[in-house]
């Protein structure tokens, strides 16, 4: 699967693929066929809009909600599902599961599920680029939860002092595991913290893929031309629970309903229909393609072998 061309319809289809993939995962989990997992349902525009402005020589670091970033970057849903189901054909030979999938061939590196782990590693990835004079920037995805970790502050400070080409992308999805951001931060936005480190920043409506794309382009260009960090905050919402299964009994129903009305996929469909760039039949064809892609991905994953027992202690040491 290729990275996404810069047009509204292609971005919509990729968002639909991410949604279908994660809903399939959730249903597999509910049916007892997959381990628990973290989804990014509701945050697809943030992933697709930002990844869409990156080049092949850019590097991406992500976290436990990585499926959107990986699929946006062009990951094969079959190899992703195989990984989640613990099969040897997965991107990490079945040794990661859903929580820390990396795909070096896609430039998606060093995924860490320790909240904030990716922030600790991004500076080193960027340092390599700088010292070796390599083209490209580093995009580091994290949430408002990770921004409350000390490592966020250490990372931004060092990136600023050492002038590292990092596009920090804070997906502010309002939830930090089972705690609402309101309980853990005195302000709404992580972007305001960047200024203290001399890092330019911006908050964008994370549920509008066009706006995310435009803001990400500006941000990425700023990093490319200055060689210095930038923080882009996408204001979005985690529509499913922290982890599958999660009944979300702790979520205010009114807030959830409000954000459901702002679903980024429905919003993009409406925009494209209204502007006449797509018709309903075209969207149906997209849905059919996406469903087919997920069905064949699942068939591939389920037909794939588990790793041999001898794999237990391989890849520990280089």
């Amino acid at each position: 699967m290729e990275s996404i061309p810069n047009d509204g319809a292609a971005m919509l289809e990729r968002m639909m693929l991410i949604r279908a993939y994660e809903e399939k995962l959730a249903s597999l989990q509910a049916a007892g066929q997959a381990a628990g997992t973290c989804t990014s349902v509701g945050q697809e525009a943030a992933a697709v809009g930002v990844i869409g402005v990156l080049n092949g020589d850019d590097r991406v670091l992500t976290n436990h909600r990585s499926a959107g970033h990986l699929l946006a970057r062009g990951a094969d849903p079959g190899r992703l599902l195989a990984e989640v189901l613990g099969r040897s054909t997965g991107y990490c030979k079945g040794k990661s599961g859903s929580l820390h999938i990396s795909a070096k061939e896609l430039g998606v590196l060093l995924t860490s599920t320790i909240v904030g782990g990716e922030l600790s590693l991004a500076t080193g990835v960027a340092l390599t680029k700088t010292l070796r004079g390599e083209a490209g920037i580093v995009a580091c995805f994290f949430g408002d939860g990770a921004a409350c970790e000390g490592i966020f502050h250490e990372s931004l400070n060092l990136a600023s002092v050492w002038q590292l080409p990092i596009l920090y992308v804070c997906e502010n999805n309002q939830w930090q595991a089972f705690v609402h951001r309101r309980e853990t931060m005195t302000g709404d936005h992580v972007s305001t913290w960047a200024g203290g480190y001399g890092i330019p920043s911006r908050t964008v409506d994370g549920n509008d893929v066009d706006q995310v794309h435009a803001a990400a382009l500006e941000a990425a260009n700023a990093v490319r031309s200055s060689g210095r960090p930038y923080l882009l905050e996408t204001w979005t919402y985690r529509l499913r629970g922290h982890f599958e299964p999660d009944d979300q009994s702790y979520v205010e129903p009114q807030e959830l309903a409000e954000w459901r009305r702002r679903d980024p996929i429905a919003a993009q469909q409406a925009r494209l229909l209204e502007s006449g760039r797509l018709d309903a039949a075209a969207i149906e064809r997209m849905r059919a393609r996406v469903d087919e892609a997920i069905a064949s991905a699942l068939a591939f994953a389920q037909a794939s072998p588990f790793p041999a027992a001898s794999e237990l202690t391989t890849d520990v040491y280089a």
Binding site: C92, H100, S112, R132, E154
Partner: protein
Amino acid sequence: MAQITVNEAIAEALAEEMQRDPNVIMFGEGVATKRPELLSAFGAARVRNTPLSEAIIAGTAAGAAATGLRPVVDLLFAPFLTLAMDAIVNSAGKLRYVSGGQFSFPMVVMAMTGGGWTVGAQHNHNLEAWFVHSPGLKVVMPSCAADFKGLLKAAIRDDNPVLFFIDMPLGHLPGEVPDGEYLVELGKAAIRRAGADITLISYAKTVDTCLQAAEQLAGDDIDAEVIDLRSLKPLDEQAILQSARKTGRVLIVHEAAGPCGVGAEVAALVAAQAFDALKAPVIRITGPDAPAPSSYPLEQAFIPQADTVVAAARRLLRRGTGESVPAVAERMR
């Protein structure tokens, strides 16, 4: 063969490896300030000071290592490693495995520890066993100038993360270091003194303690063998077992606390694989299960001393004295 100090040996290793491989970089708290010779030879891009931020120092090293550099980072004092554990243990140690072998982490983390400078518990904590217990990491803790140089050079060339512990009082210790390129393979112990009656196994500063003890024991016609582990992971199991089978008596000495320490691992190895050759229980002499004190006499009491080693060795070799060996062991710990 030149006579240089441990600190000079470390500096030589760093300079030689940075000269040999442009991917070797070094950063940490005061690295550029304290190593002006490296800074002037290799420039500010490759020799860097950092903020006092252990977590991001270690994380930056891991990220750089995974993408082609060979960072050496100095975290100064071992207890500060607790602030860098995520990057070292969860990232550098695990992400190779978790990613199915997509990445490797050729990096060295240096830290000082060990009693002798009366710096107290938050600058002195021998926590090397923590890293032995963490998959994906290698751990070395040399005892002499030659090994500091040879092991550091080998650690920098190794494709895995290596924890390089510097026993603090050894820094100014002079020693013979071979001229020219000198490497010591990770995972190989050294026999510092050959002997037939008892094996004293140690690493770092207490290797010398064991050598002093062996000299005293020689006066009693007790011929002690002294093994310097040097590498705690990988552990040179063959060297340990060979000596245990030869002497039948094993006394392990380290400054780190006993519970789940390196000595426990060595004892378990000997019990499992050389039990038939043992003539006495395997005994450990270790630091206590207490934070390292600052007061000099207390700190000296914390560190295993030669007299204690001698007494334990004598008792292991004496028979029919009416004092049971396990009782001795209990007291020694």
